[in-house]
């Protein structure tokens, strides 16, 4: 049963039709109750901070800052879900982020203009650096994965070693100094006014997103009918479609209510001879690139986890390793691949972190492992293996960052933030344990 845990369990046992309680109605929509609960929790958290801050918190700019700050953790947490689901742990993610971020910085400021003879105007230099960094992330992940899966050293030990030794290697790599001054194209990965896709592109994303939701719901219904699976009632389908479309358009609206800062907009207007209208020039910034990256990674990883053979193997192994092995799954290769995947995700998060800083410091990525594990666990991933969803982990990352950002916004300092974050972590897992014992 556990290997189906990321699919709505209600899909397996058709809901009884005769009872009409509210719970049944919710069950008929097949909305994942836990994910829905987290969305509600997130909304409540945001509202609490809105009131606490005297009504200035819920602004598009703030929401996008929050989302950008959560992006690195959210990206890695999608991979951490698969690692934890297959009964392993990766403590080295922060160090991998650090060494890859330092790689980008050293490549672009030192190695490329020097050794490789690629000056700052070399075409797609930033993309080459990005590729090399992701290659490094993959290689580190593959090495750790190999030692874990084929040699049989516990992942806890291997990645703890990785945490220490990779962090140490960063020092030698940068000769102990902070490195700054990345390519301007690369900096866009980090967001900010210029690092956003713009108003028009955001609306296009909204149109495509809602079309995809409708198409998926339709396809899903057709497939169910074809194979004789129970169908959702039409009212539930309509509700799901409207909620999904509403969410996508709401997101686009928030992103486009976030305008360029006045100074930047005016400089842009002067440079392009655009008259500045009364009340200032309002250029919608749209979705920041880090947020676009999170959305893309979350979709891709959800597809891998739920629709690809590899993803199903991961859940099968996590649910029952012996059974998976006996069923003929190449479990070692599967495990190694989860670490390769998380290595690449760390490289993406490293790019976001380095681009945001316009450089790399020695301590970039420090304690990411704790936040990433917390995000996955708050998102419903179980250390018992076999249970955990990717959207849950992404939401978990946003919930944790919403708390950190909100407390910081109202002026609570880091010790207070840590106290609250710790309590939330325990509450979330406690809720899961209680919920599971109650038996759904």
């Amino acid at each position: 049963m556990t290997n189906l845990a990321d699919a709505p369990p209600q899909a397996v046992s058709a809901p009884p039709r005769q009872r009409r309680s509210f719970r049944d109605l919710v069950l008929q929509t097949e909305i994942n109750f836990r994910l829905f609960g987290m969305l509600v929790a997130l909304a409540v958290i945001l509202l609490v901070f809105h009131v606490w801050s005297g009504g200035t918190f819920l602004r598009p700019e703030n929401m996008l800052s929050l989302a950008v700050q959560a992006s690195g953790i959210a990206v890695i947490s999608t991979g951490m879900v698969l690692v934890i689901v297959s009964r392993n742990i990766d403590l080295s993610v922060g160090s991998i982020v650090g060494i890859v971020a330092m790689t980008y910085a050293v490549l672009m400021t030192d190695v490329m203009p020097g050794l490789l003879g690629m000056a700052g105007d070399f075409p797609f230099r930033w993309l080459i650096a990005l590729g090399l960094g992701m290659g490094l992330g993959l290689a580190v992940g593959a090495l750790q994965g190999f030692i874990i899966a084929y040699i049989g050293v516990p992942s806890f030990i291997v990645t703890l070693g990785g945490l220490l030794s990779i962090r140490g290697a960063i020092w030698y790599f940068s000769r102990g100094a902070a490195v700054s001054g990345l390519d301007e194209d690369f900096q866009l990965i980090g967001g900010g006014a210029e690092g956003s896709i713009g108003g028009t592109a955001t609306w296009v994303v909204a149109v495509l997103g809602s079309a995809a939701i409708l198409a998926l719901l339709y396809y899903n219904r057709r497939q169910r009918r074809r194979y004789g699976f129970p169908l959702r009632p039409i009212w539930a389908e309509t509700l799901l479609a409207s909620l999904g479309v509403l969410f996508v358009w709401g997101l686009a609206w928030v992103a486009n209510r976030n305008f360029w800062p006045r100074g930047l907009a005016e400089a842009y207007a002067r440079a392009n001879n655009i008259p500045i209208p009364e009340g200032g020039l309002l250029i919608p910034a749209g979705l920041p690139y880090p947020v676009v990256i999170v959305i893309a990674v979350a979709l891709l990883m959800t597809w891998i986890a739920t629709r690809r053979r590899f993803g199903r193997y991961v859940y099968a192994y996590g649910g029952n390793p012996e059974a998976a092995e006996l069923a003929g799954i190449n479990t070692r290769w599967t495990i190694m691949k989860t670490f390769m995947l998380i290595g690449i995700l760390c490289a993406i998060a490293g790019a976001i972190a380095a681009a945001r800083l316009n450089g790399a410091t020695l301590d970039i990525g420090v304690s990411y492992e704790l936040y990433v594990i917390a995000a996955a666990v708050v998102g419903g991933t179980s250390f018992a293996g076999g249970i955990g969803t990717i959207p849950g982990a992404v939401l978990g990352a946003f919930v944790m960052q919403a708390i950190a950002y909100g407390l910081s916004y109202v002026g609570v300092n880091s010790p207070g933030q840590n106290v609250v974050a710790g309590i939330v972590l325990i509450l979330a897992v406690g809720f899961d344990a209680w919920n599971r014992r109650r038996g759904t």
Partner: protein
């Protein structure tokens, strides 16, 4: 592996990580380039110092400054006088450092220079040395023992220099205070004390300056935002939040007091991400990336502690102690360290420690670096011109003199 056992492992993991990240993480990273010392005195060996062995116990080499600047400062001074230099690096471990001190003593140390991992955990090693009659210099970090000679930069003066520069540039308006790790006395006590000595609190009380990021009503502990482990990314997130809030409430940020360079880098990144412009910003350490920001006009002042000079002072003091000079009347030779950083009195002064001890001390002065005096860090060989002027348009009239 059973499920229960695995569930039990995570908290253990977190503890281990916390333990590993602990001591090192609470120090401000102080980065510098790796260059060999070139400006050491080259006098011939003389009498008593010729057979003097000066032993140094470093708590770590993770922070680049120790190996890059402090070590050459001490080593060259000692070796130029014909003494022998030996050292050990404790890799951020209190226990290792105590073992190191024992080893250094058995290797024949006549004087010990200790960069202590912890001001009190080092005391067993200090007792051992005291019993052997070996004088101890507490280097850069205090040791709570009445017998030591304390040689350091004045951390309160660093804070004072930061605030003096910023208050002169922005005498009134809205200030943001970015502090370091809440567990580090430099962050919570000494640097804010320096800010107040420069007149920050008086101006706040007079209503000329408003602190935008107060977390409560108490001064100074609720003034400003702490940055766990002095981490740049944390400072960046915090600063973004503060900018968001200022924009939402229609406040402008006129100046930012950041306690050190790693947090100042995060502040600059946040200002850039929000396209906010660059209000006057402080920092300390003289990291190359920050000095570059000073040259670029993104950071107003960087308070520089010339570690090479600190090393020289410690090396010379060690040699004098070796000759049997009394700690109480120890006098630093005039011109040994650069006059701009030399202590007010060249004779060792009493210093009251927070732990209630009175020790002899030499307290050196920090140097505030702004775009007007960037040549100082070039002359000292602290950074190269390439590092300092990276991205500066040297043809522009606005480029700092040092880059032209």
């Amino acid at each position: 592996m059973s499920l229960n056992r695995r569930a039990a492992i995570l908290p253990a993991a977190l503890l281990i990580i916390a333990a590993c990240g602990g001591p090192g993480a609470t120090q401000a990273p102080t980065q510098g380039p790796t260059q060999a010392a070139t400006d050491a005195p080259t006098t011939a060996p003389t009498g008593a110092t010729a057979d003097c062995t000066v032993a140094v116990s470093w708590n770590n080499f993770q922070q680049p400054r120790w190996a890059a600047h402090d070590q050459p400062g001490i080593k060259d001074t000692v070796e130029a006088a014909g003494g022998t230099y030996i050292d050990a690096d404790a890799d951020l471990s209190n226990e290792q450092q105590i073992t190191d001190v024992d080893t250094l003593i058995s290797r024949g140390a006549d004087v010990l220079i200790l960069l202590a991992q912890d001001t009190t955990a080092i005391l067993p090693a200090v007792d051992t040395a005291n019993q052997e009659g070996i004088p101890i210099i507490a280097y850069d970090r205090l040791i709570e023992d009445p017998e030591v000679l304390y040689i350091t930069f004045d951390n309160v003066a660093v804070g004072r220099a930061e605030a003096e520069a910023i208050l002169e540039a922005v005498p009134e308006g809205n200030y943001v205070l970015i502090k370091g790790d809440p567990g580090d006395p430099n962050a919570s006590t000494f640097l804010p004390q320096g800010w107040d000595e420069a007149g920050l609190k008086a101006k706040v009380d007079a209503g000329e300056i408003t602190i935008l990021n107060m977390s409560g009503d108490n001064w100074p502990e609720d003034a400003g935002t702490y940055t766990a482990a002095w981490a740049t990314e944390t400072a960046q997130d915090n600063m973004e939040t503060i900018i968001d809030r200022a924009v939402a409430e229609d406040n402008t940020i006129d100046a930012i007091l950041a306690e050190n360079d790693s947090t100042a880098i995060g502040v600059v990144a946040a200002l850039e991400a929000k396209s906010y412009g660059f209000p006057p910003l402080s920092g300390q350490d003289g990291d190359p990336a920050n000095l570059n920001n000073v040259a670029l006009g993104k950071q107003y002042v960087d308070v520089w502690k010339n570690a090479r000079e600190l090393g020289k002072a410690a090396g010379a003091a060690a040699l004098a102690l070796c000759e049997g000079q009394d700690m109480a009347s120890l006098t630093m030779e005039e011109g040994l360290v650069d006059p701009s950083v030399a202590p007010d009195s060249l004779t060792a002064q009493d210093f009251e420690t927070p732990g209630g001890n009175t020790v002899k001390s030499f307290i050196l002065k920090p140097t505030p670096i702004t775009r007007e005096n960037l040549d100082l860090v070039l002359e000292g060989g602290w950074v190269t011109k390439d590092q300092l002027c990276q991205g500066v348009d040297t043809a522009s009239a606005e480029a700092p003199e040092a880059c032209k």
